[in-house]
Every structure is written in structure tokens, then in C-alpha cells.
């Protein structure tokens, strides 16, 4: 390759700074485009959600899949999160004889933060990935087009039940996480470490307010809506065969997981 003698007619090669700026610009442009796409889809979903025919059967199938189907893994995550948190905070509080604070610490962390974040992450992994792959496969095998040619709106038939299921079921799963997480904490603090049950419960009641639980539920609803919307958006717009569906699912998983943590901060700030 004798590229040393460049023709004066060729444009100069872009320098590293130019390439870097171009990269950032493309990234920002794609990000804004995706946010716009998500918002447009959200508006579309809301518009079709309030129009008959109401597809109750499809909605219940998705509530079952997203919610009931996730109870076990969300519950298990809850129990062990509570146990781990109680174990670690016991070690810390033990240093200055404040073990009675284990109960409030565990319950506040779980209700406000751990339950919505972990429940949403579990739903993303289990239901979000399946949603995205299923919709993506339907898109690339023209099943979505087929629905449309049969005068059935695919947004209403496929996306509305899935997005509503995320919105409704993640807060429900947060409640289960709350109960089982606190039970896990109770088990470690009271049964394993020997704290008195009365102290654990009384201290928890003293510190834990209904607002803390509500904060977790609101976060759960926001995350549930978000992860279902991202999975639907990526799957619905997939293209390029099996490889394209795989790519869409990876992107959906990454965007969901990152989005949960980013939204967690902003929802927290707005609620206080």
C-alpha cells in the first residue's frame, strides 16, 4: 500500500480530534433518536390502550407471564438480598453495639431501593428478553405485517398488553420483594444472630413509613413501564433476520439495565 503519495484532489484524512467529535456527535444523535422513538411508541401505546376492542385475554396472558411467572425468581432474590443486607449491616452495627438498627436499615433499603431495582432487573432478564425476541422474530418473519394486513393493529394487539403488564406487575413484584426481603433480614438478625424479635419489629415500625413503601412502588411502576417499553421498542423495530433479533435483544437488555439505575436516581430526586 503506497498511500504516501496522496493525490491533492483527495480530501484530507480526518484527524483524531475530528473522529472523536464525530463519534460523540453520532452517539448523541442516536441517543436522542432512540428517546424520541420510545416516546412516540409510548404515545402510540397509550392511544391504542384506550380504544376498543380491549384485548383482555392478551392482557391476562401477559400479566401471567410478566408477573406470576416472575414471582419465584423475584421472591428468591428478595429473600437473599434481605439476608445479605442483614448479615453485612449486623457486622457494621455490631462494632458500636447498635444491632437494633439492623431492622430499620434492611427495611428502608429494601423498600426504597433494592426491591424496585432488583425486581425490575429480574423482570428485564426473564420477561423483557423473551418479549424482545418474540416480537423481533414476529417482525422479521413478517408476522407483524400479517397482523396488519388482517386489519389488526399490531401496537394494540401485541404491545399494549405487554407494556401494561410491565406497568402493573412490577409494583406487585416489588411488594413481594418487600415482604420476603424483610423476612430474610428478620431471619438473619433474629434467628441466626439472636436479636430479640421485639426489638427488630419495634425499631422497624419506628423508622419505616408508608411513604418509603410507596416510593418503592412508584419506582417499580416507572421501571416496569420503562423495561417493557424498551423490550417492545427494540423487538418491534428489529430487522435483519436472526442476527438482527439477537442484536435488538442485546441492545434492549443493556438499555433496560442502565435505564433502571439512571431512572432510579431521577425518580428518587423528584419524589423528595
Amino acid at each position: 500500500m503506497s498511500t504516501q503519495t496522496e493525490s491533492p484532489l483527495q480530501p484530507p484524512r480526518p484527524g483524531p480530534i475530528y473522529t472523536a467529535i464525530e463519534g460523540i456527535g453520532t452517539g448523541v444523535y442516536k441517543f436522542v433518536e432512540e428517546i424520541g422513538g420510545l416516546m412516540t411508541l409510548l404515545i402510540d401505546v397509550l392511544r391504542w390502550a384506550v380504544r376498543p376492542p380491549f384485548r383482555v385475554h392478551n392482557l391476562f396472558a401477559q400479566l401471567d407471564f410478566v408477573g406470576v411467572g416472575s414471582i419465584f425468581i423475584v421472591g428468591l432474590t428478595g429473600v437473599f438480598s434481605g439476608m445479605v443486607f442483614a448479615h453485612q449491616s449486623w457486622r457494621a452495627f455490631d462494632m458500636f453495639n447498635a444491632e437494633s438498627l439492623v431492622g430499620p436499615t434492611v427495611s428502608l433499603t429494601i423498600t426504597r431501593e433494592l426491591a424496585p431495582v432488583f425486581a425490575a432487573l429480574m423482570v428485564t432478564m426473564r420477561a423483557g428478553s423473551a418479549m424482545c425476541t418474540e416480537l423481533g422474530t414476529m417482525r422479521v418473519t413478517e408476522q407483524v405485517d400479517a397482523l396488519e394486513t388482517m386489519a389488526v393493529n399490531p401496537v394494540q394487539y401485541l404491545l399494549v398488553p405487554r407494556v401494561l403488564a410491565g406497568l402493573i406487575m412490577v409494583p406487585m413484584l416489588v411488594m413481594i420483594f418487600d415482604i420476603l426481603g424483610m423476612s430474610g433480614g428478620y431471619f438473619v438478625a433474629v434467628v441466626v444472630k439472636g436479636l430479640s424479635a421485639g426489638t427488630f419489629v419495634a425499631r422497624t415500625q419506628q423508622w419505616l413509613d408508608a411513604e418509603d413503601i410507596a416510593e418503592g412502588l412508584i419506582k417499580g411502576a416507572v421501571f416496569g413501564l420503562y423495561v417493557a417499553l424498551v423490550a417492545c421498542y427494540k423487538g418491534y423495530h428489529a430487522s435483519g433476520g436472526a442476527k438482527g433479533v439477537g442484536k435488538a435483544t442485546t441492545e434492549a437488555m443493556v438499555a433496560s439495565a442502565l435505564g433502571i439505575f439512571i431512572l432510579d436516581y431521577f425518580v428518587g430526586v423528584i419524589l423528595h
Binding site: M138, E142, Q143, D145, A146, T149, M150, A151
Partner: protein, 258 residues
Amino acid sequence: MAGRATAAANAPPMIQVIGLHKSFGDHKVLTGINLEVPAGSTLVILGGSGSGKTVLMKHMIGLLKPDEGQVIVDGEDIVPFGPEALERVRRKFGMVFQAAALFDSMNVFENVSFPLREHRKELSEDEMRALVREKLAIVGLKNVEEKYPADLSGGMRKRVGLARAIVLDPKIVLYDEPTTGLDPITTDYVDEMILDAKRELGVTSVVISHDIASAFKVADNIAFLSQGLIVDQGHPSKLRHSEHPAVKVFLSTWFGKN
């Protein structure tokens, strides 16, 4: 054949495409398409891969909006229509997809009865079963209702796809590459099926294809699409002797150089 074409030529057009332009970004796919499909006739749109056949078909059923031009279906220009009006128009159509596009989460009965459940809610379960069985018989299938698409061969899937497309007795049936990827015997069967659907149900059909033999068998009219334009169209016997170089080259692959 000639009688068929004359009868068709006198019928009013079921689909009319006027001055249709469509680009995707900088890529011009269709550059001024004019077409007419007389009611009750079969039009085959012939062309090589990437000539814009599928894009043209998607405009006819309103899956794509043109940049310019009109698409008139059964007397109505569907281009300005919103989703609700398009749904009404689409009930006049049945579409058979290249890979059948059956819902793989549903069995054959559920697939074929899907349009009935959506648009003929007054039917009882027994009436639906009877209708599904009748349409499956038209495409030459029986005792497959409980099977899933994954358990069927390519040709059978295509036939189930046609049964689903005709279950609501549409006025128009669109076929997207119906014989692609099929063996010669199944191809012949699918051609017969297209002719049967036309004879028995009186439907207007549009077939997009690059299969010359099958096109000449089923068509009342053939339109040849090349580089975004219909370069020649008419009765198969006319197209067979077309002077247009693109048509000549394409047909010579089947009929030989002379």
C-alpha cells in the same frame, strides 16, 4: 386464455396505481408506477430481486405510504387514509406471504380462524370450525387443524397461509413470491391453487414473482418491473414478444434466446 383476458379487460379496475414514487433515504425504489388490475383478473408483477416488487405490493394494501402518487382500491384513494380507514380497506384483502408468516404460537386452526375471531365475532365456535375446514379443503388440506406451523412443510405452510388469506372471502388476494423456494411439483400445486382461488371465489389477484413459468401459467396480465418502473405490461402472449431489452434478457433465461 384469450377469452379470460378479454372478460377481465372489460371489467372495472379493482386496483389502480397512478404515478407512484417511493424512496428510502437517497435510494429511489419506485419512480412513477402506473398499473391497473381489472376486477376478477390476475396480474403478475414480474421482476428481478431488488426491483421493488414487494415495496409496490405493500403500497397496494397501505403498509407503506408513497412519496407521490395515488393508490385506488375499489374506487377509493387509500393514500391519505389514517389507521382506522385503512383497517376497513384491508378487510377487502387477503395476503399470502413469502414464508407464509403464520403465527408460530398458534396451531393451524387458530391461525386460519384468527381473522374470523377478529372480524366475525358473531360466529359460533362450530361455525368457525366448519368455515376453517371448508377453506382448508379449498387449498387441499385436511386433518391438519391441530398441527403447529413448525410441524408443516414449506408448501403446506403456504397453503395454510392462503386458507387464512381467503377465510374472510376477500375481494383481492395478494401473493408475495408464492412459489419461491418450492420444488417443481409443489410449485405446480400452488399455481393451481391460485387459479382455483380465482375460479371458485372470483377474487382479483396480484402475484409478485420472479418465477417466469409460474407467471405465464397464472397471469391474465403481466407487468414487468425494472429499476423502479413498469417497462412493459399486457397479456402474457404480448409480453412474450416484448422488445424491451430488460424484459428480453429476463425472459430469455427461461424461453431461450429466440
